[in-house]
Symmetry: C2
């Protein structure tokens, strides 16, 4: 049995022992013969998978009334992974979601590192810096690089800390953001945990 | 005597009684015969003004040691306008600067409304919403438009409020942000006040 989280550019597989990635443009899902329980945010791939009987879309087993209609299935799975806390999924966007007593309580979306860097650069070439994740966030900045770094990083840190909950960090930039939340749980496999929880609830594993 | 704040697209004049704007591409500064005290962030215009004796660059009268080298002259003038407080200048970027006992204490830069809207749109077409400035920021969002609005607006609001200082709002989007800071001072002429203060200090008015 395989789990698979399909994004816009990759198939991310997990088989209990290891995780590995395949390029979404090159990989042929019909080459897999065993059962694959997946989530997918990529519309084209979803169409490709529909006729394949051994590819099972876990989004159909989610109790959607706990979430909102346009909420990404990856955010939902991250929330399903925990009983209580705040999930910070740092990818192309950063999603911050609150879970209390197993129930999604709302969340917000902030730009990811690359998108926010582009954003500042598009405002002015004078703001085309990489973010300084080593910045002392207790001091007000006095140079341009720190001024944009503070604007991006400190505001997110303050908001997330303000919930006074356990923090679960996941996504491609989790390790970068771990510097801001030293007591957080970093878990690259958080979405897979959520997927397994959904399977348990649905009695399909 | 005229004051003029020159940006990338406009000359913004102030003559004690009224303020008015001229298009930076069309306006001929040599057409003005009286004395003009100006600040200018537009390099091309600055070159154009150098040979004109009646155009006086106020940036030369600023005590630069209070500020940092790459800090925009418009930010500096806004800081010079107040003795104590936080200046929020909401333009293409939002600059947030702290002044204590007449001294600049540091500040940060956050994307302006248009730039941040583009930023979310560039991450995903599913995030291409206008921001909801009417959002109840005491509740965690449960739909996509509110999720990005909260990410953009609430984080800025919390940071600015955390200083527990008087808030001075200026810039093209000042009225939009006034909803977030109901007790703030909105002053579209803040930069001109700063320019006048510099002139007083330098005994040139």
């Amino acid at each position: 049995m395989l789990l698979c989280d399909i994004g816009n550019t990759t198939y991310h597989f997990f088989d209990e022992h290891q995780s590995y990635k395949e390029d979404a443009e090159l990989f042929m899902p019909s080459s897999v013969k065993e059962e694959v329980f997946y989530i997918c945010v990529n519309k084209q791939v979803r169409e490709l998978l529909k006729p394949l009987k051994n590819w099972i879309d876990l989004s159909e087993y989610v109790d959607r009334k706990n979430y909102y209609d346009t909420m990404g299935i990856d955010r939902i799975m991250a929330c399903e992974a925990i009983e209580e806390g705040v999930v910070v999924d740092a990818g192309s966007a950063i999603t911050v979601d609150i879970v209390k007593a197993g129930k999604f309580e709302g969340g917000f979306i902030y730009p990811g590192v690359r998108a926010m860097g582009e954003c500042y650069k598009n405002i002015s070439a004078a703001l085309a810096y990489s973010f300084n994740f080593e910045l002392d966030l207790d001091k007000m900045p006095k140079n341009s690089r720190d001024a944009i770094s503070y604007g991006y990083i400190k505001l997110l840190q303050s908001e997330v800390k303000s919930y006074k909950m356990e923090i679960y960090l996941t996504g491609g930039d989790a390790f970068e953001f771990a510097k801001l939340f030293p007591a957080s749980h970093i878990d690259e496999m958080l979405l897979f945990k959520g997927m397994k929880n959904i399977m348990k609830k649905a009695n399909i594993c």
